[in-house]
């Protein structure tokens, strides 16, 4: 089913400059897989060499962190929105 993924500013150069991309998927993992198939340059910015999400990349299904759902296996509905947000932190 079609589902929307919101792309953060720093990843848009690797995603055809789009802020919202529609993919076809039944799970979050499928959605991210379809995303990097459509935009291969995104892969190394989202995933480490072992195929896991990079440590600073957060993926949310609507308002829930997928790490606290069923991770990649989290099922999606057509009305759902996946958000990708790199972390924001620092300090003196």
């Amino acid at each position: 089913m079609p589902i929307k993924i919101l792309i953060p500013t720093p990843l848009r150069p690797y995603a055809g400059s789009k802020s919202i991309i529609e993919v076809n998927a039944q799970t979050v993992g499928e959605a991210l897989g379809d995303l990097v198939t459509r935009h291969p340059d995104l892969r190394k910015h989202l995933f480490s060499e072992d195929g896991k999400l990079r440590s600073f990349v957060n993926v949310y299904l609507n308002d829930e962190d997928i790490r606290y759902l069923s991770k990649d296996a989290t099922p999606v509905k057509e009305t759902d929105t996946i958000s990708i947000v790199p972390s924001v932190a620092g300090g003196r």
Partner: protein
């Protein structure tokens, strides 16, 4: 390239740093990118500092807040153009921790020094290049009255 911000919004983020002193404040800058790479701030969104273990010298914005802010910005035709935080009793310069924890290439990272509870200097730095070669570049702040 420059970061353009209305004076009222600049004062808002500086005041946030005074309110949270001696802890670091943090928040998101929402606005628009222009075709030349400059940014115009249209809203300042204060966030909570979730680094309760060391809030005097570290900050972390809850990703769920970022998700909400990004979604609302995109729905209204705007964007996240940067972030801000304070350095209590420390210069308004980026630190090694600031660079290591910065991942929003192209965005502004605004830092305000807060000395003895008073906001002093506010500087902006744009994060550049890919993750493996990232670096900050000094950025002009244009204050609109």
């Amino acid at each position: 390239m420059a970061l353009s911000i209305p004076r009222t919004l600049l004062e808002q983020l500086r005041q946030h740093g005074e309110e949270t002193y001696p802890h670091e404040c943090c928040g998101v800058l929402v606005g628009e990118f222009d075709p030349t790479g400059g940014k115009a701030v249209q809203a300042v969104v204060p966030c909570g500092n979730t680094r309760t273990d060391s809030p005097q010298n570290r900050y972390l914005i809850d990703p769920s807040e970022l998700v909400r802010i990004q979604r609302e910005a995109l729905l209204t035709g705007r964007d996240i153009v940067g972030f801000y935080h304070s350095h209590p009793d420390h210069p308004a310069q980026w630190s090694a921790t600031d660079l290591a924890e910065a991942h929003w290439t192209g965005c502004s990272y605004v830092i305000t020094s807060v000395e003895k509870g008073r906001a002093v200097l506010t500087n902006s730095f744009q994060l550049q290049d890919r993750e493996e070669a990232k670096h900050f570049k000094d950025e002009v702040v244009e204050v609109d009255n």
